[in-house]
């Protein structure tokens, strides 16, 4: 029993203990026990995942529990990375949930389902057979649905959000089911080892079908456009620690699936491809990633709902990860192993960084929502005096999310850009077009991400409060602060000490590179092997700190007058103190950008003018409404849903009410099938 197995077993036991505690504990202790047990499960999972990344895996096979290949678990470095990430987020979310549960979430059902969700998310990366994978995936989906619906008594939109989420997650599940079952049928056995061996010999067409169907399912889970519609609905309506778990741990499993099926099982990592079927896979992934990244951040920039903004930002970050994965696949297919390993390492590092800062952001947003009761950025603001810790932590998360140094995402984006930059000159026309497009997409998202998080932090937390609720906000209970603190600490460690995590990530990326040397190494300086490039986030942060200290020292020396600052009025053009109504809101902040991207966003304007009865020249009221709908939803989903409704109405004609007719349908179908069978044999 090595550390990985022990840690994993401890994590699952702790989760089970949490479930029992939820069912058995008295109401006042329930949240505490469940939160602590979930946190412990997360911690054990982090240890297990880290041990697996270091090379100690484990495997377990219990043949009789499930049909076909039975219940098999195997933790390899790739799975270990995702287990560790999930565990880390579970620690933060579990502790946060202790304080948050006072919101009306202290019921038995809501508390008991959370550890089940965490356990399912831990099992998915460890699954080693098709049956196990599908069962754990479905368990994860089923466990998350009641969590999303937890607050349905309070708001009516929660029900609709749950419906979208449930339907889309199950459609994705069907796609994955089809793909994996086709694969297992070709391989003859459902264990991943058999799939791996068969993947090297699959014909191009079958392999492409498997890849595309699993890509559809996993991309839907990861929130990639155009299958992202559930994400900006479900994440705002779920309780904040559940949003953190979903956004920072669950969507990663979509990426896990794509990497596992594409690189590991279908064998793209080793050697080029068989036949032409594989040439277009990874450019497709890269293109999807680029579209999602740009679209996601564009929707986030103009969003005025704080949690919806964070949800769209998840789409953007998953798009960036897919750009890295697609680039890795393209490089591997071209034979450029080193760069493939580098690109995959960058993508996986971004997964880790995203988990850290997104969980921090969601938890801090949850704290703000918990204190003020509203998610609308146009009604928040001025939270700094009442909630200093939350404000500080949200600022830390926003710095990390905007990919600026010394944040966490800066390192992973730097690595990603390095891999793309060195990938040129390209080997073919697709690369020649796609790689600069990918760089441009990353650049655009970087710029827009900066704008988004300046808006979220500046409008939501700084300046003066825009509503009564924001003015009366007080700091959250200590458990919530501790949960946020854990995530914040992770962000800081990842920002400054990326070199601690990179060897592990590099060993996972060997899946794509196939070489024994990691793509990146170095203790203080991140150095790329073979290609020229180095960066030291730690030295950068130290240099900034030294620079700031020097500036302060020089200022003290040079500035002649006293250090005591005088409190003065703000400039108000002489018209008296400014009210909070005169502040810029989130809508106005993003308005120039919305105008620039008018064609893409296509906002809907409604102006209603009511004239006075006496004369048409006098106006009584003017009503102005502007909405920016999700354009992909408008153009893609609405027609599909309308068509389905029309078919449903047409199919009503089949149901006349006669039992004989219904039975007849069955009989005729069976007979027809049998005849067809007899004839075609």
């Amino acid at each position: 029993m090595n550390l990985a197995a022990l840690g994993f077993a401890a994590a699952l036991t702790s989760a089970m203990g949490a479930v029992i505690a939820a069912l058995v504990s008295p109401a006042d202790r329930r949240a505490l026990t469940v939160g602590v047990a979930t946190g412990a499960a997360g911690g054990a999972a982090v240890l297990a995942g880290a041990a697996a990344m270091a090379g100690q895996g484990f495997s377990l096979a219990v043949p009789w529990v499930l049909p076909l290949a039975g219940f098999r678990l195997a933790l390899d470095p790739l799975g270990g990375l995702f287990v560790a990430v999930t565990g880390g987020v579970a620690v933060a979310a579990g502790v946060f949930g202790i304080g948050y549960a006072r919101h009306g979430l202290a019921g038995r059902a809501a508390q008991a389902v959370l550890p089940v969700f965490v356990a399912a998310m831990l099992l998915v990366p460890a699954a080693d057979s098709v049956g196990t994978f599908l069962v754990c995936w479905e368990l994860m989906a089923v466990a998350s649905l009641p969590l999303v619906l937890a607050e349905h008594r309070r708001r009516t939109e929660v029900g609709e959000a749950g419906l979208w989420y449930g339907v889309m997650t199950h459609l994705g599940f069907i796609a994955i089911l089809i793909g994996l079952l086709i694969f297992a049928a070709q391989a003859g056995d459902a264990s991943f080892t058999a799939l791996r061996q068969a993947g090297a010999h699959l014909s191009g067409g079958v392999a492409s079908v498997v890849f595309v169907t699993t890509l559809v399912g996993f991309a839907a889970k990861a929130g990639i456009a155009p299958l992202h519609a559930w994400l900006p609905r479900a994440h705002p309506e779920a309780p904040s620690h559940v949003s953190a778990l979903m956004s920072a741990a669950m969507v990663n499993l979509g990426v896990y699936g794509i990497v596992r099926v594409g690189f590991d099982l279908l064998g793209s990592g080793q050697g080029g491809g068989q036949g032409g079927g594989q040439g277009w896979w990874w450019p497709l992934v890269l293109l999807l990633g680029a579209i999602s990244a740009v679209y996601g951040i564009l929707q986030a920039v103009i969003s005025t709902d704080l949690k919806r903004l964070l949800g769209y930002s998840t789409t953007e970050n998953m798009g960036l990860v897919l750009i890295g994965v697609g680039a890795a696949g393209m490089f591997a297919a071209d034979g450029n192993r080193v760069l493939a390993g580098l690109a995959l390492a960058a993508a996986l590092l971004h997964v880790i960084n995203h988990a850290a800062f997104k969980s921090l952001l969601f938890l801090a947003a949850g704290s703000a929502v918990h204190a003020t009761g509203t998610r609308d950025l146009d009604a928040l603001g001025g939270l700094r005096p009442g909630m200093p810790v939350t404000t500080g932590l949200f600022g830390l998360g926003a710095l990390a999310a905007s990919a600026l140094p010394p944040g966490a995402a800066f390192v992973s984006e730097w690595l990603l850009l390095q891999s793309l930059v060195h990938g040129l000159p390209p080997s073919g026309v697709p690369s020649a077009i796609l790689l600069p497009v990918a760089v441009a997409a990353i650049a655009l998202t970087a710029g827009l991400a900066v704008a988004t998080f300046v808006k979220a932090f500046g409008v939501g937390f700084l300046a003066k409060p825009r509503s009564e609720a924001a003015a009366e906000a007080t700091e959250s209970p200590p458990s919530m602060l501790v949960g946020m603190g854990v995530a914040g600490a992770a962000c800081v460690v990842l920002a400054l000490g990326a070199t601690a995590v990179l060897p592990g990530v590099g060993s996972v990326a060997m899946l794509a590179s196939g070489s024994p040397d990691p793509a990146v190494h170095g203790a203080v300086i991140v150095q790329l092997s073979t290609v020229a490039g180095s960066l030291s986030p730690l030295l950068l942060a130290v240099a900034l700190l030294v620079g700031a200290v020097v500036v302060v020292a020089v200022l003290r020396a040079v500035a002649a007058r006293s250090r005591q600052r005088r409190i003065a009025r703000l400039w108000d053009c002489g018209g008296g103190p400014l009210s909070a109504r005169m502040e810029y809101t989130a809508t106005s902040f993003a308005e120039p950008l919305q105008r620039v991207f008018d064609d893409v966003l296509q906002p809907e304007l409604d102006v209603d003018v009511t004239h006075a009865t006496e004369s048409r020249y006098l106006v009584q009221t003017v009503e102005y409404r502007r909405r920016v709908p999700d354009r992909i939803e408008r153009r893609l989903y609405q027609p599909v849903l309308a068509a389905v409704r029309a078919w449903g109405r047409a199919a009503r004609a089949l149901a006349t009410g006669s039992v004989h007719r219904y039975l007849g349908y069955g009989f005729y179908t069976v007979t027809a099938l049998l005849i067809v069978l007899a004839v075609t044999r």
């Binding site: 920039v301 700094r384 005096p385 990919a403 600026l404 140094p405 730097w414 850009l417 930059v421 040129l424 000159p425 020649a432 600069p436 760089v439 990353i442 650049a443 655009l444 710029g447 827009l448 900066v450 300046v454 500046g458 409008v459 700084l462 300046a463 300086i525 290609v531 490039g533 180095s534 960066l535 030291s536 030295l539 950068l540 240099a543 900034l544 620079g547 700031a548 500036v551 302060v552 200022l555 040079v558 500035a559 002649a560 007058r561 006293s562 250090r563 600052r565 005088r566 409190i567 003065a568 703000l570 400039w571 400014l578 005169m582 502040e583 810029y584 902040f589 120039p592 105008r595 620039v596």
Partner: protein, 318 residues
Amino acid sequence: MSALGAVGAVGAVAQPVLIVGGSPLMLGVMRQVRAKLEGRAGAGIMQPWRDLRKLFRKEPILPRGTSEVFRYAPIVLMGTTLVVAVVAPFVTVESGLDPVADLFAVVALLALGTVALALAGLDTGTAFGGMGASREMTIIALVEPTLLVAILALSLRVGSTNLPTIVSATLHDPGRVISPVSLLAVVALVVVIIAETGRLPVDNPSTHLELTMVHEAMVLEYAGPDLALVELASAMRLTVFLGLLTTLFAPWGIATTATPAALAIGLSAFAAKITVLGVLLAAGEVFMAKLRLFRVPELLAGSFLLSLLAVAASFFLA
């Protein structure tokens, strides 16, 4: 650091001193050139330093209702600019701190400074602060793609984004500068620099009309030593950006050895190049008017197209 580390170390000290001391001077030269071209007498080259001295002597102020973000933003701005001034290879071919001298890192650090200022603008809670922050963020968001793609075009020929590497490669192969790739990238970067430093036609640094302000609106509430820091940092940013332009495209005169003579040549070459560029910029500004904010994206889109063409050219002509 290699054996030439001494060069880098010396540069790391001399360079920021030159930049801190010289950027207000350069600003003064630019204003003087504009004044002369517009038929005015001008305030003299030393006026920016006189302004700074006056501001440093004033009483520090904290507006009511602002938080630490407002208070520490000038320090962050100045700190990032100082780090870039130390790290970038303007005077010597080796950087003072090589692991930080990556082109992406330098650009991101400068963006961090802008972000700090934008947050300070939002923190004041006034309409002007918000307006400045909003406009500045729009411009930054649209400038980033051009900047990164232009960096891509530059690093393609060299195979690395490390600034000293690019500089030494250009020193060894001067012919590269005249290639179409370089020319397209230069034009794109000039537009980027104008946008990032807030010069005409994107922003008017000497305006006092709130509706035309971008940078000035964000710093409207600063006074005294804070304002001095912000003004000094803005001047240094302009110098740094122009320095990046010269380093990437015209690095001749950079010291490659540790001798005092080479260092002196390097310093004076840098000063001369920056002055020339500043004068050209100022002269150009006389003939331009500020663009409407909603015309600026067209300008930036044009520069993006140029940088994309630079990348394309580097494939098909390399």
